[in-house]
């Protein structure tokens, strides 16, 4: 156990928290958070980072262990208690009211008598913003804000309420590289000001660039704390995963790429009349991985769904599948997923919403295997033998951890859910394989397993489309990268020569070629 330090803002001793009888989310965790310091809490998904921080913010109560704040033992039984102790949590998913101004959101939920003096609130907010260099104004409505501004507002909110211990849960997940740098600047300012800051993350380069110390969790257990200056990506990965891992993607030069999918002038107008996709034109080649980059919500989802036959496209759009043997183009416009299948075209699609679209959460692996093939054959009854065998095969090949292949997939961890989905889509022997955020929420080992599965498919001549958010991976994995910005295509670049900065710029570029703050 670590000795208590005079500058310790929070000390945790022997924290244990379990859910049900089998899942131990935190097991005897002891660590300290110091003032004037940035601590990274590093661990793979399911390692218990968020549970631990939820204990500090009063959402869960630990089964065992002690929490000391400012040297005094405390019991945090509700978010209110946590607040009173000066702990502020900035969640991954923003908790803001869109139609309210920044100031209104900040005072929302605060106790007080009579009317709020919004003017005084505004002054105080302005003072906080000036102190740390935040770029929001109290009068700004949330719906007018960029993602990065919304996050800033969340930070201002907890500062306004007097928090001096800030916990940020995966704060960079939604930011561009440029915005991430800005956030780190703010974090350094707050650190200088004597705040204690915790960043929950699994991105190693961020850990190295912003934090002073790193505490590592693995499968609910505390592994250790190291000073960032003594750590490297490799040493951290080993602590996080528990064994040596090789993090490389075998990117072969595409062999004889052939046009497989031709998308021309693809536009989709949303219900509110705004174009979610605007005049997109590109080809996807068999034997190549085409990356699709962009801030989330820039039309990636719509693009893949349009190709899969799930979205109605505007007149004038064309999507052609080029037959591998005859080079004959078949238009996919206006076809439902079943009609596309009946044309003999196998499009595999790993959608972003795994349990809400790609799989049926309440069904086991076997029944999920049948999702796209159950209607085969003339029988009135479903045939479960083949799906059962396929489920067993995928369970074995991809090392899916599940009590049984009939356990509802919603009970599996995110990584295993994704293996089930990707396994099924690859087993269909597709001509085109589309994936949206295929590794979101997966641990490093599983992520690389997925990258390599995609690379294998590419080597087999499949046209792979990979919508991703981690630019480092896009650059390492993809042969070409298409960048979307607010529904427009801002460029297609070579994955082998692309840089993060170049992609970052394209991600925030409007059609006029100027950089826009409001994307």
């Amino acid at each position: 156990m670590e000795n208590m330090h005079t500058s310790d803002a929070i000390t945790l001793k022997g924290i244990t928290k379990s859910f049900g009888t089998k899942v131990i989310a935190n097991k005897n965790i002891s660590l300290s958070i110091r003032r004037g310091e940035v601590l990274s809490l590093l661990g793979e998904n399911g390692s218990g980072k968020t549970t631990l921080m939820n204990i500090l913010s009063g959402i869960y109560y630990p089964d065992e262990g002690q929490v000391f704040v400012g040297g005094k033992e405390v019991a945090i039984r509700s978010p209110g208690d946590s607040f009173a102790l000066g702990i502020g949590m900035i969640h991954q998913h923003f908790k803001l009211v869109d139609v309210f101004t920044a100031a209104e959101n900040i005072v929302l939920g605060l106790k007080g008598h009579g009317k709020f003096d919004l003017k005084a609130v505004g002054e105080k907010v302005r003072a906080i913003c000036e102190r740390y260099g935040f770029d929001i104004t109290p009068e700004q409505k949330v719906y007018d804000m960029t993602v990065s501004q919304k996050q800033t507002l969340e930070i201002v909110k907890v500062l306004y309420r007097g928090a001096d211990i800030l916990i940020l849960d995966e704060p960079t997940a939604v930011l561009t590289p440029q915005e991430t740098e800005k956030l780190f600047g703010v974090i350094r300012e707050m650190k200088k000001d004597g705040k204690a800051i915790v960043i929950i993350t699994h991105k190693l380069h961020e850990v190295l660039s912003v934090s002073d110390r790193v505490s590592i969790l693995r499968k609910g257990e505390y592994i250790g704390t190291v000073d960032t200056k003594d750590a490297t990506e490799i040493s951290l990965t080993e602590m996080m995963v528990g064994k040596k891992v090789t993090l490389n993607i075998d990117r072969k030069v595409p062999v004889n790429p052939k046009k497989r999918l031709s998308v021309q002038n693809l536009s989709i107008t949303g219900e509110d009349g705004i174009k979610v996709l605007d005049n997109i034109t590109f080809d996807a080649m068999g034997g190549e991985i085409l990356g699709i980059a962009g801030i989330s919500g820039c039309g990636q989802k719509e693009l893949l769904e349009a190709i899969a036959g799930l979205k109605i496209v505007d007149a004038g759009s064309s999507i052609d599948f080029i037959e591998p043997d005859t080079d004959k183009p078949d238009s996919l416009i206006g076809k439902t997923p079943r009609q596309i299948k009946e044309m003999g075209i196998t499009l595999s699609f790993v959608p972003e919403d795994r349990l809400g679209m790609g799989l049926v959460a309440s069904m086991g692996m076997t029944d999920n295997m049948m999702l796209k093939s159950y209607e085969q054959g003339k029988s009135f009854f479903v045939e479960r033998k083949q799906p059962h065998d396929l489920a067993e095969e995928i369970k074995g090949d991809l090392a899916v951890v599940t009590p049984s292949i009939n356990t509802p997939v919603r009970r599996l961890s995110g990584g295993n859910v994704q293996k089930v989905l990707v396994g099924r889509e690859i087993a269909a022997a597709p001509a085109v394989l589309m994936t949206a955020y295929a590794v979101r929420g997966l641990d490093i080992g599983t992520s690389y397993q997925i990258y390599n599965l995609l690379s294998e498919q590419k080597d087999k001549g499949v046209a792979v489309m990979y919508v991703g958010e981690d630019l480092d991976v896009l650059i390492d994995l993809c042969d070409r990268i298409l960048v979307l910005c607010a529904g427009k295509m801002t460029g297609i670049i070579d994955g082998r020569t692309a840089t993060k900065e170049q992609i970052g710029l394209l991600m925030t570029k409007t059609s006029h070629g100027e950089e826009s703050a409001n994307v």
Partner: protein
């Protein structure tokens, strides 16, 4: 930090934790404990409020269903009416289509049967029965299909729609019976003398056929939901329409087809109630079973065999309540409280199967 001192140093008294994978033994134990608890609370209630001997009251309650074989058969007859509607609701509910219009669908089916019995008497018996079945099934199906069409086409709310269709059905039957009965005070038993359109007596009861039909339906619906492509589609649509579209399932088609089946079985239920049991039609022919069946379907999680058990339990409580009311001269409220306590405990025990309570432990 002043506020920090106010924070109590004690953990909460009770916390909840979700649990699953409870062993069957424990589940049975929890449920048995719930029944014992219900009997104990009821005993206290009976003793303190009515000054009766609880054991005697329980014995009477038991007699409600089991005193004579005839009583048992009556209980079975009422149970299958309830179960049949539960079976009809199962596919709709599994698809997350909240069909709360079973009452009306049953009534329309029963109404069609009654009309056939009155106006098609000249037909040979097999043909008459065929016509009765067909018209009642079609009437029930149409009543179920109308809300489904609106849902599939314009995404209207099916809960309100199916509910309101009940009142339309009730008014149609009220209007029609008013005309049909003429000067009489009620429509009375149809074909009392000729028994045309009545189910034949089997093993001494004319409702035996009801029990057989519903037993067959129980098995068929179980297989339909579990082992057919239709059943699979219903599960997928119910779980997530997005997933269904992704899988290439035509959601509108499945919605219409499933409600057609749901309404048709309700219509069939109206047919067996009128032809096999009541032999008349009135606004209360469905007797609220259309709503009680919602509870049956939900508690059984759409498994038709569990539905049979739950229907039986509900009918047992109902018969028992009636029995103690008449033998001890108690009013309905007291008997309702007694059966209500039993239901409450049994349903409440599900909570302890799904959640674990963690009490504050000493440090």
């Amino acid at each position: 930090m002043n506020k920090a001192e106010n924070t109590h140093l004690r953990e909460p008294l009770v916390r909840l934790a979700k649990q699953d994978g409870v062993p069957v033994k424990k589940k049975v134990g929890i449920r048995a404990a719930a029944i014992v608890l219900a009997l104990v609370i009821d005993a206290l209630f009976i003793f303190l409020v009515t000054k009766l001997n609880p054991i005697q009251v329980y014995a009477e309650m038991f007699k409600g269903t089991f005193e004579t074989s005839l009583r048992f058969m009556w209980a079975m007859r009422d149970m299958v009416s309830l179960l049949c509607i539960g079976i009809a609701l199962a596919p709709a509910f599994k698809m997350r289509f909240w069909n709360i219009g079973a009452e009306g669908q049953v009534l329309m089916g029963g109404f069609a049967t009654a009309l056939c019995m009155m106006y098609c008497q000249s037909l040979p018996t097999p043909v008459l029965f065929l016509v009765m079945i067909l018209t009642s099934v079609i009437c029930g199906a149409v009543w179920g299909l109308i809300p489904a069409v609106f849902k599939a086409r314009w995404n209207t709310n099916e809960t309100l729609f199916t509910l309101m269709m009940n009142y339309v059905a009730i008014q149609i039957v009220a209007y029609a019976t008013n005309i049909l009965r003429g000067q009489a005070s009620s429509l009375g038993t149809i074909n009392m003398g000729t028994k045309i359109g009545w189910f034949p007596k089997i093993a001494g009861h004319d409702f035996t056929l009801n029990i057989i039909i519903v037993a067959v339906l129980t098995v068929l619906m179980f297989i339909y939901l579990k082992h057919t492509k239709h059943g699979y589609e219903i599960s997928v649509v119910g779980e997530s329409e997005n997933t269904a579209r992704y899988a290439g399932i035509d959601v509108a088609k499945v919605t219409l087809r499933t409600m057609l089946i749901s309404g048709a079985i309700c219509g069939l239920c109206g047919f067996i109630i009128v032809a096999g049991n009541k032999h008349t039609i009135a606004t209360n022919t469905a007797g609220g079973n259309g709503f009680t069946a919602i509870i049956v379907a939900w508690l059984a999680k759409f498994n038709t065999f569990y539905m049979a058990l739950i229907s039986f339990m509900l009918i047992f409580l109902e018969k028992g309540a009636g029995q103690i009311a008449s033998s001890f001269g108690l009013n309905d409220f007291i008997t309702d409280i007694i059966s209500g306590i039993i239901l409450f405990c049994i349903l409440g025990s599900e909570f302890f199967i799904n959640y674990r309570l963690i009490f504050r432990h000493k440090k």
